[in-house]
């Protein structure tokens, strides 16, 4: 029996959280991020702001040029994590196997709940409505027989979309999409495939072995071609007992601006905090990893006196480590990663943050 996997993606999550906490912001073009007067960067923009061409990771100054009426709000990650917990607590009640991969996204294994695409669609529409009425957040869902299909499908109709790809039609669904929509195709792979004349996921799916071996050598290429066909063996996994947790991001263009790197480090810190939270663990060390265009890797770690878990503390330590790494080697960066290590089993809970 095929697995049925859904991907949940909360719509413009930070902006939505701000609107829930400050209803007067509803309907306004809202930008959560750094100050447009300084050298801040956009973390999230509401759909009203996106209509003006505002995008995540754009400089806040540029965002204001595109959308002069935008309201800027500084991010409050601890508060967003509390909102996120409420959403995922609800999802946990309805779905037995959930793998949260970020503050606003995760995979749901629906195999034990539904058997057909129609049932999956009905279930997800119901869950979407329940999330909306209980927490106030809008979510988009994608669903299919594999993680990669679910992930691409959740992005297919946003916001408030539910896109279920029936078993057997995965490859057809993916075929016409641009290469970059396939998770795992980074800027370099994209450029290389385009130079070779490929344009869509479908082109990759039918690429001959010898060309694949030349363009994307090794296991990576084989894995990406499988995904292009809608096949993805990765199971939905509950937060495990790893000894460390980390997330990283490879950039389309090498990034040299410290402010942009800081903004990305903040976002990655949120994702690390979420995974740590779900693993019910605390950590004592934050590790920042940088890869430079020459593929050399630098890591810097920062250890706290007491175990921590919240996004603010992770971000604080990550920024200290990042500043140290950039001071030691001020150069453009190809990849940035944030992780936590020295995980502790038990964690002292707080009465208030």
């Amino acid at each position: 029996m095929p697995r049925i996997v859904a991907h949940l993606d909360l719509d413009a999550f930070f902006a939505a959280a701000e609107v829930i906490d400050q209803p007067r912001l509803a309907g306004l073009p809202l930008i959560v991020g750094g100050s447009p007067d300084g050298r801040g960067v956009v973390a999230t923009a509401s759909y009203q702001a996106r209509a003006f061409g505002v995008r995540s990771a754009m400089s806040s100054a540029e965002a204001r040029r595109r959308c002069p009426t935008a309201v800027f709000v500084r991010p409050d990650h601890a508060r967003y994590l509390r909102h996120s917990r409420a959403v995922w607590a609800l999802v946990d009640l309805r779905v037995p196997l959930v793998e949260q991969v970020g503050i606003d996204e995760g995979y749901l294994d629906l195999s034990s709940l539904v058997t057909t695409a129609r049932e999956a669609d009905a279930f997800l529409v119901g869950l979407q409505a329940e999330i909306r009425s209980v927490t106030g957040f809008d979510a988009s869902f994608g669903c299919g027989t594999a993680k990669v299909v679910a992930k691409v499908a959740s992005d297919f109709r946003k916001p408030c979309g539910v896109t279920v790809i029936p078993a057997g039609s995965e490859a057809a669904f993916l075929a016409s999409l641009p290469l970059r929509t396939l998770p795992g195709i980074g800027p370099k792979a994209d450029a290389r495939l385009r130079e070779a004349g490929l344009a869509t996921v479908g082109d990759l799916a039918v690429l001959a072995d010898h060309r694949l071996a030349r363009l994307l050598p090794g296991v990576v290429g084989l894995e990406l071609r499988e995904r292009a066909c809608g096949r993805d063996p990765r199971p939905v996994q509950r937060a495990g007992l790893a000894s460390s947790i980390s997330v990283e991001e490879t950039f389309e263009h090498d990034v040299a601006e410290p402010d942009v790197l800081r903004a990305i480090a903040l976002r990655l810190s949120d994702d690390v905090a979420v995974r740590l939270d779900r693993a019910a663990r605390g950590a004592q060390t934050v590790v920042v990893k940088l890869r430079y265009p020459d593929f050399s890797i630098a890591t810097r770690s920062q250890t706290a006196k007491a175990p921590f878990r919240g996004p603010d503390e992770i971000a604080r330590l990550a920024l200290i480590a990042l500043v140290r790494a950039l001071r030691d080697r001020p150069a453009p960066v190809r990849l940035l990663g944030v992780g936590v290590a020295k995980l502790v089993h038990s964690e002292q809970l707080r009465l208030f943050e």
Partner: protein, 377 residues
């Protein structure tokens, strides 16, 4: 003539043990941080030949003014290095000691018997201005009630300077009632108690826990009444002529009433002294953030702890528990503190579940100790 304008020459003589005792008190407000050198000094002021002699010290957060019984041969003032002077005076074995300083040479002399000890002084004009005590705004409080309330809550205050508000104790004085609350965000102690004294106007101040700890020491070593003076920025406590002044901490104290859960799933009465002993023993094995585990089963409570590379321990005592077995973890020190400060033969432990706050209480209805669990893996 005000104290600050006293000439810089000075000669006083007093009892050695009395001076050592008074220096010990004043030293509590000195700071050894290098950035404010004069804060490591104790000022001796003798404004005139007849008048009182006063020791004063401040680290800018806390200040102490301590009266000294001494014969004044030459009025004046001097700022002595607290550490070295205190160290030498308490080693003296003669009855009388004389302190002399001469204007302008930056030195003072301590003479006792055949001994003569010269020390470098700090400039008097650099000594911070100490807050004045406004006699009109001063009122008396029951030292037993006030000091007893401090003792019950102060351990829950935070030592983490990054959140100044939590390093203080909320002191709320209103007609007929005194309330104090302290929390480090992991636990919170609150006591509300009746107050017979007349308070001129209601006061709600966040007072540095350090200042209240010093006040506790002062009250412990004297039997005088407790005088209090409050203004916008500071609060002062007077005991036997010693005035302790503290800067009030600005900010919003957590709403402690709203943090107390309204209802609980479990309520267990436990023999306080016996449980405290168990916790002290088993707690030795809860180190490096390892939790003290309380496992409740019908009729009994098992307290256990285990620290990698150290060892493990468990003890079981009878308990009035009747529900489904469950376990909850606490920081051993926080839990022991809670048992320590509740009163009566029995401690009541109220719990919801292993990740929600628990409340310890005793025979005093006005006291409660809220404690957050350690999440057990």
């Amino acid at each position: 003539m005000s104290l600050l304008e006293a000439p810089e020459t000075l000669k006083i003589t007093c009892s050695t043990t009395h001076l050592a005792d008074r220096l010990a008190i004043a030293s509590r407000a000195t700071s050894t941080r290098a950035s404010i050198q004069v804060a490591s000094g104790i000022r001796i002021s003798a404004p005139d030949a007849e008048g009182p002699v006063e020791l004063a010290a401040t680290d800018l957060e806390l200040s102490l003014r301590v009266p000294l019984d001494a014969e004044v041969e030459e009025p004046g003032s001097v700022v002595l290095p607290a550490r070295v002077v205190h160290d030498i005076v308490r080693q003296l074995r003669t009855d009388r000691v004389t302190i002399t300083s001469t204007s302008g040479d930056g030195r003072a002399k301590i003479t006792s018997g055949s001994g003569e000890y010269g020390v470098h002084t700090h400039p008097v004009e650099d000594f911070p201005r100490l807050p004045e005590i406004d006699a009109e705004r001063t009122f008396e409080l029951d030292r037993q009630v006030f000091g007893g309330t401090v003792d019950r809550v102060i351990r829950a205050a935070s030592k983490d300077e990054s959140r100044p508000v939590l390093t203080g104790v909320l002191v709320h004085l209103e007609p007929g009632r005194l309330t104090m609350a302290a929390t480090d965000s992991y636990r919170m102690a609150v006591r509300e108690t009746a107050l017979a004294d007349v308070v001129p106007e209601p006061v709600e101040a966040i007072v540095p826990a350090r200042a209240l700890a010093e006040l506790g020491r002062l009250l412990g070593s004297s039997s005088g009444t407790l005088a209090v003076c409050v203004d916008r920025n500071m609060i002062a406590f007077g005991v036997d002529g010693v005035w302790l002044t503290a800067r009030r901490i600005e900010g919003q104290f957590p709403n402690f009433r709203s943090l107390r859960p309204a209802a609980f799933e479990h309520e267990v009465r436990l023999p306080r002294a016996e449980l405290l002993d168990v916790v002290k023993r088993v707690g030795i094995f809860a180190r490096n953030n390892a939790p003290l585990r309380l496992s409740f089963a019908p009729g009994e409570l098992t307290v256990s702890a285990s620290t990698p590379d150290v060892g493990d321990a468990q003890e079981t005592i009878p308990a009035s528990f009747g529900g489904d077995p469950f376990s909850i973890g606490f920081n051993a020190d926080f839990f022991r503190d809670g048992l320590d400060v509740t009163e009566g033969d029995d401690t009541t432990v109220q719990m919801i579940n292993p990740i929600r706050p628990a409340v310890l209480g005793g025979s005093d209805d006005g006291f409660w100790y809220l404690i957050m669990p350690i999440r057990l893996s």
